[in-house]
Amino acid sequence: MITTMLYSLTGLILFGMGFYTLIIHSHPLRKILAVNVMATGVFLILVATAYIPVGQGDIDPVPHAMVLTGIVVSVSVTALALIFACKVQENSNLDLLRKRNHRKSMKERGL
């Protein structure tokens, strides 16, 4: 029982840490990592839930199935978010570049 609680608590803390980072930090990579930490926290709680101390020490298979599915989802979502981060970065750099060029050309023209 204690073990389960301990794992669950760790999971909750991880979730909270991830959430905090996601809100506070602006770097895209950190944000994506934060989402992953959150997900891991939830999975940890799920795994802890699977343990049923009553009677035979049986193991509930449902949370396991959930964790596996969750991991698959989280991997694909991470991949997508990474692509997004790259694109945004690229575009904002381009934006910056364009603005700078624009300013430079304005200067050259003496405006």
């Binding site: 989402v35 926290g41 839930t49 599915t69 978010a81 997004f84 694109k87 934006d95």
Partner: protein, 505 residues
């Protein structure tokens, strides 16, 4: 196996778009044909499912023969099927409209190339999104719902980014992250619920038992997660940029369908699973947020300079009505509560689709959507402007639109239960809607001086008719309300699930 009374048919709204999405992904040509076939097929299957439910009652389908608690099951009942019908009808219109949108002035080589690239991604993603939506409405267990939520998020975010502009990229990146936070919060809520109840099936969850604190925590987590996805004020900040910067067909999908999905789920949780432990004050809290949303969204909509942003803020405002229904639903029986929400959702889906389509048409026609310079559009695009007017009227909740029926029910409940302040909110909200709708309308009616108003840009019927038809549907929805009421009342009693409550069969 495929006789008309089996539950197998429920699978098709999920399978059809999924297969179509995969095919669209594989093939370079003919993607529109595949998508259209899937959309039409989906529409017919959904109509059939409704017929089936009216004849044989709500159905349940256990995928692969696995029964709960282990297996996945899909089920049809009144509210779910109406949401499916909403998705199918608007989905069909969206498919046609998107085709017209991508074909617009294809003779311009630059535009042709851009549209080709966008189309290449649009069709598979749209079909996947449709799969997710249909799956969400039909799913009968809370974890499966998580998966569909994620499916919706990972197909909606790239769709929102399709236009490729930096602003839309940023907005959709934020949209993706917000969706992920929402889904993970939801998942945490699912875990809490599972820990205390030991089941995932919606019907089984209806007789909740277990640790009160854990259940309350689960409720809070589920609610926050879904509120974030539904963009209820004050968690609405991500919606306007994401919806307004997307391509027109995508804005339609996001505004009309995607936000409804998470709301539908929220409502199911509050009024079916958690109903016994919900307190009046928490309902009032949700209602207050809804009222805030109505006013804040409308005020913002009035202040916008761009048509698409105006329409997006109007979504924020209209979503508020769905939450104002919370405190009032307490005082009506379950079926009627659902019918209020369903009427608002259906009307909003049709009217908002029409509005975003109109905004798209205006954008294609003028090359911008600044509200101040819309003059002459009335003469060059009469059908589009007409569609805008009708959609606006439905949004304002004038009779005989579906929103009018919903407002009538809300008002009469608020008077019957002596909560007069909600009446003020509802009536005030319609007036504000009038102001932002007609602010644009009067700009359409300005007759340009000097220059000839006809620029000879004719829009294809694919661009003009879907919004008009959707707007007309939303306006006349009130007249078919007896049928809607009849369908809404069919509920999944959970009998099927209870048979197998004992464990694995």
């Amino acid at each position: 196996m495929f006789s008309s009374d089996t539950a197998v048919w429920i699978v098709f709204p999920v399978i059809l778009p999924l297969v179509a999405g995969l095919l669209c992904f594989l093939f370079k040509r003919g993607t529109f044909g595949i998508a259209l076939a899937a959309a039409i097929g989906n529409f017919f299957v959904v109509s059939f499912l409704i017929y089936q439910m009216l004849v044989y009652g709500p159905m349940r389908c256990y995928i692969g023969g696995w029964h709960p608690p282990l297996g996945i099951s899909l089920r049809s009942d009144g509210p779910a099927l109406l949401m499916l019908l909403m998705t199918a009808a608007t989905g069909l219109a969206i498919t046609l409209y998107a085709r017209g949108y991508f074909l617009f002035r294809i003779s311009d080589p630059l535009r042709a190339q851009r549209h080709k690239r966008q189309q290449h991604y649009f069709w598979p993603l749209w079909m996947l999104l449709l799969t997710g939506l249909n799956g969400l409405f039909l799913s009968a267990d809370i974890f499966n719902l998580y998966v569909t939520l994620e499916l919706i998020a990972i197909s909606a975010a790239p769709l929102a980014a399709l236009s490729g502009k930096p602003a839309s990229l940023r907005a959709s990146y934020r949209y993706l992250l917000i969706s992920l936070i929402g889904s993970l919060t939801y998942l945490l809520g699912v875990v809490f619920l599972y820990r205390s109840c030991g089941v995932l099936d919606l019907a089984l969850l209806q007789n909740l038992a277990g640790n009160r604190l854990a259940i309350t925590t689960a409720l809070v987590l589920l609610t926050v997660g879904l509120m974030l996805k539904t963009a209820l004020v004050p968690l609405h900040f991500w919606l306007p940029p994401a919806h307004a910067n997307a391509l027109a067909p995508v804005s339609v999908i996001l505004s009309a369908l995607v936000v409804k999905a998470s709301f539908y789920l929220l409502f199911r949780f509050w009024f079916e699973i958690f109903a016994p432990i919900i307190s009046l004050s928490s309902l009032n809290f949700m209602g207050t947020l809804g009222a805030l949303a109505i006013f804040w969204g409308a005020i913002q909509a009035m202040r916008q300079q761009r048509l698409k942003l105006m329409v997006a803020y109007s979504t924020v405002s209209q979503l508020g009505y769905l939450f104002v229904a919370f405190p009032l639903s307490m005082f009506v029986d379950g079926g009627q509560a659902w019918s209020i929400v369903v009427f608002i959702a259906l009307t909003h889906a049709c009217a908002k689709s029409a509005m975003f389509m109109v905004a798209g048409n205006v954008y294609l026609h003028l090359g911008h959507d600044r509200i101040k310079s819309l003059k002459g559009v009335r003469s060059s695009q009469p059908i589009t402007v007409f569609a805008y007017g009708i959609a606006g009227v439905s949004l304002m909740g004038l009779p005989p639109s579906g929103a009018f029926i919903a407002k009538w029910m809300l008002l009469s409940t608020s008077f019957a239960s002596l909560q007069y302040w909600w009446a003020v909110v509802i009536a005030g909200g319609s007036l504000l809607a009038m102001i932002y709708v007609f602010r644009v309308m009067s700009n359409f009616f300005v007759i340009p001086e000097g220059e000839s108003s006809k620029k000879n840009v004719s829009l294809s019927p694919l661009l003009e008719w879907p919004p008009l038809i959707l707007a007309l549907i939303s306006l006349f929805l009130g007249l078919i309300s007896p049928w809607v009421l009849k369908i809404v009342l069919y509920k999944d009693s959970g009998l099927f699930a209870q048979i197998f409550q004992g464990g694995l069969p």
